[in-house]
Amino acid sequence: MSLLALTLLAGCNSYELFRVTGYEQASFSNDADILFIIDNSQSMAEESTALASNFDRFVGKLTNTEGGSNVPTVTLADAVDNYIRETAGGELFIDYQLAITTSSVYYDDGASPEIEPGEAGTLAYDSASDVPSVIGRGASDSALAFQTNLLCEATCWESSMPSNPDYVCGDPLEGDISEDYLDCLCGVDEWKNHCGTGQEQGLEAAYMALCRATDSPPDDCYTFPEGSAQAFQSGDEGSNAGLLREGARTLIVMVTDEGDGSLRKDGTEEPAVPGDVDEVVEEYVDLFEDMPNIVRFAVIGPNWDGTNGLCLDSAQTWGVERYQGIVEATNGLYIPITDSDAACTPADFGTSLEQLGELLSNLLTFFPLQSVPDVASIEAYVDGELVEQAELVDDEYVDGWSYDASENAVSFHGSAVPDYNQDVRIFYRPLGGTPRELPF
């Protein structure tokens, strides 16, 4: 008996732990909720113009040439037709919706001490033109609707804009934006007085916007660091209703020429201070993980590569590195807001926006991992069937999966790309051990 007892006591089982990343390949609707965080400080008018001017290219990237916003999705027959076109042609087909908020987090950041659309995570919308705050793919002209909300509510214009008496209301935006164009788009002088704070808190604004999108937000939504104002409070739940759809992916697109000045870190009330990068990034990664959908970040931000900067102006490098950190943590995309020349001209936003479209496209075949894997241990399954590792033929992968170290993700190629609604599970042994404490 003593031998038995000794064996039982000594023989605790031990196991190898793998990370498992599970996804369900997007359903046919392939929903993507895209929230733009616009820096509405005074220095951003030129960039907002460039963003608005090129936005139709982004929308074009999200919808194929045949379909676009005119693709019907009402009936089952429509769905079948779309599915066949998608699977046969491999074209990108995103059921997107767009919304805008600003990097101004506090109620009194704008012209009024009261909360205004776009502040504290609320959605900017132009009530005068009946453009909704959440613009769906079914909108008659989603690019124009986006331009309206962006230029009329979320851009800080100089009080005196160039005049263009030849402009006829309804003409498309071409070249520089004039007072006449804005008057037509927004209503006379309605575009004025939408300037925000110089202390941009892009991460906090994004978090506030998502807090407002759910009826039961996480408890952290109600907390705020010492010395700051409470931007979200009881009663704000669901005030951004419709922003997040069940099962959709959330893409947050930050457009700013400054770094992040958010104040949360370490899950405490102690405010972040200038220079805090990792503490702030980790805090917000945790906060966004508590949101109902997967959140990825794309930042069109200051031109800083960690060593050298271009046209940084007043941007603090630690603030820029916060944005770069959250982009890396969410396998997103960082695009410099200025060209790599001395003129500091805004980058080609058309190209930037197309890259955003490709980022959404990549979500279909690209499955980010949570930890850096021992590549030899990776096993990928689609609906329980083992997928073989892809072979490299003429510098291109053919049927199977491959590991992309730069993105820390597994990509599927050729016939191995998971079909709609299929379960994707990727097992691997992490090089650095399990990153989270186990529950026992």
């Binding site: 008996m1 031998l3 038995l4 064996t7 039982l8 023989g11 089982n13 031990s14 196991y15 190898e16 732990l17 793998f18 990370r19 498992v20 990343t21 599970g22 949570q370 241990s377 096993e379 399954y381 329980g384 069937e385 083992l386 599970r425 097992f427 042994r429 399990t434 989270r436 186990l438 529950p439 026992f440």
Partner: protein, 218 residues
């Protein structure tokens, strides 16, 4: 007449005392006969069991056994078992998106084991002051093999050499039938395919079943 009187006189004479000594404990012997015997009999059994002690799988099991009893104390048993190990709630919590951890566990599928039973105890107990239950208690140890399957989707099959050790009891219902209760710990060496490692594992099973005794051969 004299002869008769002489005979009576001899009969009335007191007998000489016999010294029987002091009664000692060692002089006391169990005189109760073992009512339910096993020696030289074949025991066939069926049991339902569960393997609940592993942290990540739980397996119901059906086991069939045959035991030949060489004596009242020693028997040789062959047991075959089958079942299916399910992931526990703990496992499912771990592999949820919250933790994203998959444990390289293997589920029980089947086993074949041979063991020797040693039954040093035969006893009776009074149940409810009304029923006397005859029972024995035995220990077992043996060798065997366990068929297991990875809980990962690949479902690799592995055969693990196994040393079963255990303790059990037979409660006799009649001379040919017994209720058998057993705790058997299966000590295994697993070849874990994904990680390419060998690991020691124990997976204890608790079972309850019926055993049927055949006639003695002699």
């Amino acid at each position: 007449m004299l002869t008769l009187l002489a005979s009576l006189a001899l009969a009335a004479e007191p007998a000489a005392p016999v010294d029987i000594g002091v009664l000692k404990n060692s002089d006391i012997r169990v005189v109760q006969k073992v009512l339910y015997t096993k020696e030289d009999r074949l025991e066939l059994g069926a049991a339902l069991g569960i393997m609940p002690f592993d942290g990540f799988t739980v397996a119901p099991q059906l086991a069939l056994s045959g035991t030949t009893h060489l004596s009242e104390q020693i028997g040789i048993e062959l047991q075959i078992g089958g079942g299916y190990g399910f992931k526990t709630a703990r496992y499912e919590l771990l592999e949820s998106p919250t933790y994203g951890v998959a444990v390289e566990a293997y589920r029980y599928l089947a086993s074949v084991q041979g063991d020797i039973q040693w039954s040093p105890i035969y006893a009776k107990m009074n149940l409810g002051n009304g029923t006397i239950l005859h029972h024995d208690v035995y220990l077992l140890a043996g060798l065997g093999a366990t068929l297991e399957q990875s809980v990962f989707p690949s479902g690799e099959i592995t055969i693990a050499p196994t040393i079963p050790i255990g303790v059990g009891a037979r409660v006799y219902l009649n001379p040919n039938t017994a209720l058998r209760v057993e705790l058997r710990d299966n000590l295994m060496v697993e070849n874990r395919v994904q990680s390419g490692t060998w690991a020691f594992k124990q997976n204890a099973a608790f079972s309850v079943g019926l055993a049927f005794f055949g006639p003695a051969k002699k």
